[in-house]
Amino acid sequence: MNPITNAIYQLQEITLLTWRMLRSFFRPPIYWSEMLRQMDTLGVGSLAIILLTGTFTGGVLALNSANTLQRFGFANQTGQLVATSLIRELGPVLTCLMLAGRVGSGIAAELGSMLVSEQIDAMRALGTDPIKKLVAPRIISLVIMAPLLTVICDLMGILGGLFVAVSQMFQSTNVFWASAQEAINGKEIFGGLIKPLVFGFIIAIVGCYMGLSTEGGTVGVGRSTTRSVVVSSILVIIVDFILTKLLIATLLGYE
């Protein structure tokens, strides 16, 4: 298969998987407990890396921007710059890139090993639909958890920025905070939450698809895992551009 045909074929397969996943919600059973467990492992389990990512990104943003802003006499705007960059762009994208690395790879590896060790077939033989039991809970939990983790990342980033601005740039806490608040409004937050929702879906569906299309034993599992991280990361970055364009055109606009 040439690369273009292959890409179209994979897109078709992912679309079919999505369709079957959506359809499964209208037919019992729905595995609520499995969904909760996935939210815990995929979401709560990623908390530590998201906290670190957010804090240091916010800090580095303040570090880089404060000097430049000072040169133009806008040092008191550091808070706004940090908050806007985080909520609009860096929070969603970095959170989801970290999730692609930690969670997407995990999903692909787990489903891939289940497939090569015939556990998926065993599940079907015992009367369970793997789409319902394995795919749907992972997708739903990531679609819910990715926006929540993004909020935490944003918050930690602003705190990180605040810490750097106060301790390194000797700005006042009040000035930073007041300026940051200017950036935080309903539209920005809505825009910043739509993105991780879409990214969370992409990461989960790509992870599930790569895992379930594993071929060639344990080597294949490694290959699926790598492919899952690469494809979902790239997709997150590309879709981020498209979503930003859409959001600017519809919601945010330029003043």
Partner: protein
């Protein structure tokens, strides 16, 4: 008189993966209570036969019947109902790694939302059948290869299916453990009247399954007998697969008398 349909029937079933032909117009029947031993080299489509019987994959052409019901064009939902009649023992056991032995065996009943007391009783009964009562709380990674297969058999037996599919259950096991597995298959065939397809390429398995039988004494103890000359087992039949075709089908006596060079080579005999 009502005609009892075969437990499993394949009619002219063909399957190819891309250019590779796996099965080419294969037809056979497994009668209720009969053990069908499927032999053949690696990659001759033995496991494929089992996966087709369960509807895990679809044939390119031909028809598949389970207890007289055609399942060839069934949707996944319709197949779920048919699969309840069939137990499958996978090659390496295919136990769910994340669940302890107890939950692995309870899996089917949990999915059917059965009563917890019923689940508990069934799990203990199944573990007793495969003689693994002390492994009840172990995780699959703590089990040896033979124990994994036995748990796999216990899991397949939940719901007392009348059809069991064995996918090389003895491959890679020591002779003693392999014999234990074969004895389980004998118990199912002779005491529970279960129809089965038993995929293997070990001569020892073929010998045990075709020449021994088990009876249960009044006090419940099991006795294994050799068929010898006094009787002839008619509920065990053989199929030999080669290049997607059935090259032999019949009893063990017929197989040992067959002069096909491939069969002779397979059975380690000279022509």
């Amino acid at each position: 008189m009502r005609v009892i349909p075969p437990a499993i029937e394949f009619r002219d079933v063909s399957l190819a993966f891309g250019e590779r032909v796996i099965l080419d117009r294969v037809s056979f029947r497994v009668a209720p209570g009969e053990s069908k031993i499927v032999m053949g080299g690696s990659g001759t489509g033995k496991s494929t036969l089992l996966r087709l019987s369960l509807g895990l994959i679809k044939p390119d052409a031909g028809q598949i019947f389970i207890e007289g019901e055609e399942i060839t064009d069934y949707s996944e939902e319709q197949l779920m109902r048919v699969r309840q009649k069939i137990g499958m023992v996978f090659q390496e056991g295919a136990l769910f790694d994340s669940l302890p032995v107890y939950e692995n065996i309870a899996y089917r009943l949990r999915e059917q939302k059965a009563d917890p007391d019923e689940i508990d009783a069934t799990v203990r009964q199944m573990l007793k059948f495969v003689d693994l009562e002390n492994a009840i709380d172990m995780m699959p990674n703590e089990l040896s290869g033979g124990m994994r297969r036995r748990v796999g058999i216990a899991r397949a037996l939940v719901g007392t299916p009348k059809i069991i599919l064995f996918d090389e259950p003895t491959a890679g096991l020591d002779p003693i453990t392999a014999r234990t597995i074969c004895e389980l298959a004998l118990k199912l065939r002779d005491l529970e009247n279960v129809a089965s397809i038993f995929v293997t390429h070990r001569l020892q398995d073929i010998d045990v399954l075709s020449s021994e039988y088990v009876t249960q004494a009044q006090d419940g103890t099991l006795e294994y007998h050799k068929e010898e000359d006094k009787l002839c087992l008619i509920n065990t039949r053989f199929i030999m697969l080669k290049d997607g075709h059935i090259i032999f089908s019949g009893s063990d006596e017929q197989m040992y008398e067959n002069n096909n060079p491939y069969i002779l080579k397979f059975l380690n005999r000279r022509g």
